[in-house]
């Protein structure tokens, strides 16, 4: 219903785009082209606030069916294997040297980190850190951090480690390998080709003490040490031939990889030698690889999988079909995908007026409604919370600046659909006829099955006004998209739509995507044409250790970025709903900062509530 509204509106836009075969074909190919409604290019944008909400009784009823997040630890029984699933296999099992993040994701089950994120108790986590491998830490100087390791942390009881204590040499070995081989090394390590990296060195002071030297006071450092995509600690024997880390694992965390069949399944079992094993409730997790959505949904319905990422548009109906399913609402996500521009010399997108005009053509409410099913949830009485992304995700509580609020300043206008003003901006920039260029996105499933539709809608919205005439390009993800768009530092023609990496701290996103020296930057042609003000603001905030001051600095940067519209952030989001079977004890009670960081803090607290089992 709500989903169709974009396509209904696009009926008139189709008429305007009769010359654009690719767009027409694209809309039709989705099978969602509407047959009614209308309006024209100057139609009023959709206002989600005007969508009628359910009456009080319906809302109360919907609220009452949300999972109560009851802490049942006191009555928990130990044992049983959680039946989970995943959609993709890993490239290999070495999180520090794999060319893909998938190894980090798997590694978070068995390789510990120095720190961990404190889980939220019935509320979303805030990103605060707690000890994991490190028992304690101190920061005697702004540029020096000392970690004391747990004396009782040991590696798995398997050759060649056989319960050897995890020591400072393992941490230093892992850091050295990370700085040399990890795909994210430039986010942290100071290197010859990355002089801005905050971490200068890690040194083993004694068996249980690690000293980290920072190049400058780096506010998010502790958070970075808790992040699963950075420093996972591996045994040094993994390098010296003790075992092949690409295909084998030696756990130092709560779970052991007991069985792995490529393309088929992962099986994790409780590590009896984990220092906190007595507080791990489940015996393990079975995680078959189910790439097909329909197959996964069938397994979920048949209760062979206990939780499943049901598409938002199917949540309400599935809950009606299977009323015993539990439903919970997630916190706002902290990733913000992007529409970014080729910045080769001579490109129209070097002019911020063109970029701002493009942003003004996006109907954010309509886009959010289309992909988050907001109107339908609202009508059914489910709680929704629609937020626009600024140049950081709307999920960064505290630091996110609402583009709809007056605090955004003059940049606020760039987040509002306004075709007339967009046209004026383009005319002022010297463009009196439509800008003809390419728009690229991957049509394959690496970013999920919804992503190509989202990109297509963005293209449609840009073209709807007649101010842009775009040729759709669908590059191959590995060979074309990554090297020629995503990592090209502006060296491409036209516009690209893509995903962005999830980070534990907003600084890493700011630096990586917006600083001229960032590894994934989309703001500067080859790092040569520099927005010095933006760079300086980004550098300043990462060195500010006063939280309140730093938050204000990040907000100031968002205001600045909004006036320049360096890139167009994804329109926005509403918290997603999830469905699961009610026998997962403590589900939603201990809430992880991100999915991968909770293996030692939230997964260890789950238990199998046999009294509710109906499988």
């Amino acid at each position: 219903m709500a989903r169709d509204r974009f396509w209904e509106n696009s009926f008139s836009r189709r008429r305007m785009l009769t010359g654009g075969a690719a767009t027409g074909l694209g809309l039709t190919s989705l099978g969602l082209v509407g047959c009614g409604g209308g309006g024209d290019a100057d139609e009023e944008p959709v206002d989600l606030e005007s969508v009628p909400t359910a009456d009080a009784t319906t809302q109360q009823k919907a609220q009452s069916i949300l999972w109560p997040r009851e802490d049942t630890t006191a009555k928990a029984t130990k044992g049983e294997i959680y039946q989970a699933y995943t959609t993709a296999d890993v490239t290999n099992l070495d999180p520090l040297a794999s060319p893909s993040f998938t190894a980090n994701s798997a590694g978070s089950w068995y390789y510990p980190r120095l720190l961990s994120y404190k889980p939220g108790y019935k509320v979303p986590a805030k990103g605060d850190v707690q000890g994991y491998l490190a028992e304690s830490w101190q920061q005697p100087e702004p540029t020096k951090v000392i970690f004391k390791l747990r004396p009782n942390a040991v590696w798995e009881n398997a050759a060649p480690l056989n319960k050897r204590p995890i020591d400072a040499e393992d941490v230093v070995f892992s850091w050295t390998k990370f700085a040399a081989k990890n795909t994210s090394r430039k986010d942290l390590a100071k290197l010859a080709d990355n002089p801005n990296g905050p971490v200068e060195s890690m040194t083993a002071i004694d068996k249980n003490t690690v000293e980290v030297k920072l190049q400058y006071p780096y506010a998010p450092f502790l958070s970075a040490m808790a992040y699963s995509r950075y420093l996972q600690v591996m045994p040094r024997e993994s390098e010296s031939g003790g075992y092949d880390p690409r295909n084998e694992v030696r756990s130092g965390g709560p779970w052991i990889l007991s069985n792995y069949q490529r393309n088929v399944t992962f099986q994790y079992r409780k590590n009896p030698d984990y220092w906190d094993a007595s507080n791990v409730l489940l015996n393990g997790f079975d995680i078959p690889i189910i790439p097909e959505y329909a197959a996964g949904l069938a397994q979920f319905r048949a209760k062979k999988v206990w939780s499943f990422a049901v598409r938002q548009e199917e949540i309400i109906q599935l809950k009606k079909d299977l009323p015993e399913l539990a439903i919970d609402q997630a916190a706002h996500g902290r990733t913000c995908w992007i529409t970014y521009f080729g910045l080769k010399p001579g490109t129209p997108f070097a002019d911020d007026r063109v970029r701002r005009a493009a942003s003004m053509l996006i109907d954010r409410d309509l886009w959010i409604d289309t992909f988050y099913n907001v109107a339908e949830f609202r009508t059914a009485g489910y709680p929704t919370d629609v937020r626009y992304h600024s140049h950081i995700s709307a999920g960064w509580e505290g630091t996110w600046l609402d583009p709809k609020s007056a605090d955004m300043g003059e940049g606020k206008a760039n987040f509002t659909k306004n075709v007339a003003d967009a046209k004026k901006l383009l005319e002022a920039a010297g463009f009196t006829s439509p800008i003809e260029t390419d728009i690229a996105w991957i049509a394959t499933g690496q970013y999920g099955t919804t992503f190509p539709k989202q990109a297509e809608v963005i293209k449609g919205m840009l073209e709807e006004s007649g101010l842009f005439k775009l040729k759709q390009v669908n590059p191959d993800y590995q060979t074309d998209y990554l090297p020629k768009y995503y990592f090209a530092k502006g060296d491409f023609t036209g516009i690209a739509v893509g995903a962005s990496t999830a980070y534990p701290e907003v600084d890493q996103f700011l630096f990586s995507y917006y600083h001229s020296q960032g590894a994934r930057q989309k703001s500067s042609y080859q790092g040569t044409v520099v927005d010095a003000k933006s760079d300086a603001m980004i550098e300043a905030q990462r060195k500010e250790l006063d939280t309140a001051k730093r938050t204000q600095m990040i907000k100031d940067w968002q205001k600045y970025a909004a006036t320049k519209m360096i890139l167009i952030p994804y329109p926005g989001q509403s918290p997603a709903f999830s469905l699961f079977w009610p026998w997962i004890g403590n589900a939603g009670v201990f809430r992880a900062w991100d999915a991968e960081s909770g293996r030692d803090t939230t997964e260890t607290k789950l238990w199998f509530d046999k009294s509710k089992y109906t499988g």
Partner: protein
Amino acid sequence: MGRYVTQRLLLAGLTLVLVSIIVFTLLRVIVPLVYGDAVDIIAAEYGGTDPELVQDLKDDYGLSDALVPQYLRWVGSILRGDLGESLFNGRPVSKEIQDRLPVSVELGLVGLISSVIFSVPLGIAAAVAQNRWPDYFLRTSAILVDSIPGFWLAIMIITFGSVWFNWAPPLRFEYLHDDPMTHLKIMALPALLIGLTPSGSLIRLVRTQMLEVMRQDYIRTAHAKGLSGRAVVISHAVRNAILPVVTVIGLSLPGLIAGTAIFESIFSLPGMGQYLVSSVGNLDYPVIMATVFIFSVLIVLSNLAVDISYTIIDPRIRL
């Protein structure tokens, strides 16, 4: 007979040499030119397109040498039974194939056998009942089976199985030698669905061949001799009609084995198809070259088996 088989074996060997040259040229020359190189993918994942990094990676993976030495090294390795290692995880390809090929062969073989068991009798029945309602029904059904993609049917069965019967296929794969019953439960449905794919064509082919044979003089003679209809069909018609059918069946087998990827994905099976598909995504040369070569060997062997079976089914071929 011996000369015939020797000739076919020599031709098979020559074919494999040609296949190895084509596979190598495609993967190491054509694909990098028009599509991309594995080292570019790995370099991109590391966040750089730095030529030095690319060169280092090429050196690491032995891709810097001239193509002819690379080809000779690859062929030499194959002859020694070494199919190389994956660029992305370092696993020996021969070990992976050793684990996965039996799964795919089993799927393809069971699928083909089930297809033959159903299709041949139904094709014969359609021919015998030509232009009557069983024939119309079977022909329509055959076209229907031809039109339905097997993977779509698999998803429908799984979806409605879960909605109506709270059923879903087993998730945990077990090898035949570890747990035969569970293995059977896991493999039965995908194998039958794989077998369904060629069934429609097979029914129609058997029917056509039977009709052609049934019009021959010797069939009329057999009827004139007073043989029963059943005896004429079974003893005289089927054997002569089956030759082209055997060709199609034989040549279908490698296709069925190689074409199991989507079923392996839907049913979470560790076969060759998924292995090849995931490697193609990464342009993991050693894996792609080895698996394509193995599939080529299967095709050549199937052809050989078909050729030899001719001599058994039709003795005239020995002459």
